[in-house]
């Protein structure tokens, strides 16, 4: 019974991982296929990668998405850090309930509702002020609304577990509040802010629904272009795009994890060294 249970566990995990990775492997393998054939590998070729670089819609969409996601990531990480700071540090102010509701709501609101209501705002503003034109700016605004909520959650959890006594120590030693923030708090939560940037960048780079609502004519992000192709049928060019994306994401995530692990180890070493030095100073 116990033997069976042990192997059932391993088998189940292998199956679930296979399920999670099957679509990724499928796209990687068939991006190198020599024909449009869907389920048979007819030979190795790079023709879909070549087709990818020659597809002006995809290339333009890629650069637009890159711009949108970068600005979204920066804006979301900044606003999310502000919001997390407010929620963690300011327990009482006018409208706190409304505030925490508004920050968290985009996490549960369907993207369709967010997209629709923002579109109505933009159209209304355009009727009233003649601005903004639907396009990159409006897409960034929509993405940031969502990205900020996720960024807030990431930074909030780091702020909550942070040891506040080091801030108090800095204050006791005469640091001004802004000095405390920039010299003590910010370095402490920097890892989380970077994670928040990566998360909101990824969400923006991947979003279809909000972009579909808020983009104007001729302005199409990469996911919008892919979504258009995808509805029409099988296209190995998309597999090639996917393969490049998977490679990029894997490299970024793995290097981020290695960096975090190294930082953690360094901090542990420093703490250990400091403790040893202190013990030596006491003379034990």
């Amino acid at each position: 019974m116990k033997f069976l249970a042990k192997h059932f566990g391993k088998a189940w995990m292998v199956l679930v991982y296979a399920f999670l990775y099957l679509p990724l492997l499928f796209m990687i393998v068939f991006s190198f296929n020599s024909t449009r054939q869907d389920a048979r590998f007819t030979g190795f070729s790079l023709r879909w990668y070549e087709a990818l670089t020659r597809d002006s819609k995809i290339v333009e969409g890629f650069f637009l998405s890159l711009k949108v996601a970068t600005v979204t990531g920066l804006l979301s990480a900044t606003l999310g850090t502000f919001a997390a700071f407010v929620l963690v540090r300011y327990q009482r102010f006018f409208g706190r309930t409304l505030f925490s509701g508004m920050v968290n709501a985009p996490l549960v609101m369907p993207e369709v509702v967010i997209g629709l209501s923002l579109l109505l705002l933009m159209v209304g503003a355009q009727n009233l002020l003649g601005w903004p034109e639907r396009g990159m700016l409006t897409i960034i605004l929509g993405h940031t609304l969502m990205g900020m909520a996720y960024a807030m959650v990431v930074v909030q959890s780091r702020l909550l577990e942070m040891d506040r006594s080091i801030e108090e120590a800095a204050m006791d030693l005469g640091a001004r509040p802004y000095q405390v923030f920039f010299l003590v708090t910010l370095p402490n939560i920097f890892q989380a802010i970077l994670a928040a940037f990566l998360l909101s960048f990824t969400l923006s780079f991947d979003d279809v629904v909000i972009s579909e609502f808020l983009s104007g004519p001729g302005v199409n992000t990469l996911p919008q272009v892919i979504f258009g192709y995808a509805r029409r049928g099988i296209n190995p060019t998309i597999y090639a795009a996917a393969t490049l994306l998977i490679a990029t994401v894997t490299i970024v995530i793995v290097s981020y994890s290695v960096w975090v692990a190294r930082q953690t180890r360094r901090r542990e070493r420093e703490i250990a060294a400091a403790t040893r030095a202190e013990l030596a100073a006491i003379g034990r």
Binding site: M13, A39, V112
Partner: protein
């Protein structure tokens, strides 16, 4: 002076995200609610005032909501809108259930894996989540198609005589949706199960419980919070799903997100689309409110 600066700093820190959200979240929502009451009529201007400027009479158009529940000349509750709401709830529920069935054993074994392996195993769950959601859904199209990988495989193995249709049916919808939302189920379950106090299980064994019985009487009840959290995390976003039905579903798998889209851009009926969206928010707020109440009660008990 310093005091004043500090106070201003505080106002600034609160003010920046607050006004951003008020302007880009709260205001659009008010406009949405407003337009859902506009009688667009023939002049196709959804921003027209709800009140008559000459007489001052407020004229709310409830028909946008009524038509959701009753088609013109039809019976009550017999509309395409309600059907697609119902279908959305059905798919969201089925997806959450499937994710629980796949994800619970997975999270359980993940939590019991050796401690130095766990971070890597967990990262492997998250990695697909970081690569494009759209592309991963699209891949299933190639796998499940009539001439797709899975059918070819089953044919080659002699398990089926001719390709079975999986794409554009409930099968492709549920495979796609549970695939996408599985990590949302696994992570809260894992977080819960990894904290499980094993001495409680040992106590159960000492008192003569079989592993199976101990699992159902100790582990499962203790992980109830994780199960409910995971269920909500899957159910809520699945309800408003737009991309998966567009790529993997046929005309019979229409979900409410797509209906709102069509009403907005195909039928050009902005008030109706807004009313549908408002009802959609309701469909999400109700289970969420129940969840928070339950959690509040559970926390109060401790």
């Amino acid at each position: 002076m310093h005091r004043l600066l500090r106070l201003l700093g505080r106002e600034f820190v609160i003010g920046v995200p607050f006004s951003w959200l008020a302007f880009f979240f709260f205001l659009p929502f008010l406009i949405l609610a407003y337009i859902s009451f506009v009688d667009m009529g023939n002049d196709i201007h959804p921003f027209k005032p709800l009140w008559d400027s000459a007489t001052g009479v407020v004229n709310l158009k409830y028909e946008n909501y009524v038509s959701i529940f009753r088609a013109e000349g039809g019976a009550l509750f017999d509309t395409l809108y309600l059907e697609s709401y119902g279908r959305s709830i059905k798919y969201a529920f089925a997806t959450a259930t499937l994710c629980l069935a796949i994800g619970y054993p997975f999270a359980y074994f993940l939590a019991r894996a050796s401690a130095h392996l766990r971070p890597a195993l967990l990262m492997m769950v998250m990695l697909p989540f970081w690569t494009s959601f759209l592309l991963r859904v699209y891949a299933w199209k190639g796998i499940l198609a009539d001439q797709g990988l899975l059918n070819q495989l089953l044919l080659a193995l002699g398990l089926i005589a001719e390709p079975i249709q999986m794409l554009y049916t409930d099968v492709s919808m549920l495979v796609g949706m549970s695939y996408v939302y599985l990590p949302f189920m696994v992570l809260p379950l894992y977080a819960n199960l990894v904290k499980l106090d094993y001495s409680l299980l040992e106590a159960a064994y000492d008192l003569g419980a079989t592993p199976w019985k101990a699992f159902w009487l100790v582990t499962v009840p203790l992980s109830k919070a994780g199960i409910i959290a995971g269920f909500m995390l899957v159910f809520i976003p699945a309800l408003g799903e737009f991309v998966i039905p567009s790529l993997l579903g046929g005309p019979e798998n229409l979900m409410i997100g797509r209906v709102v889209w069509d009403e907005m851009f195909t039928a050009n009926n902005w008030p109706r689309a807004s009313a549908l969206a408002v009802v959609m928010i309701g469909a999400i707020v109700v289970p969420l409110a129940l969840y928070y109440r339950h959690r509040g009660q559970a926390e109060a008990q401790h």
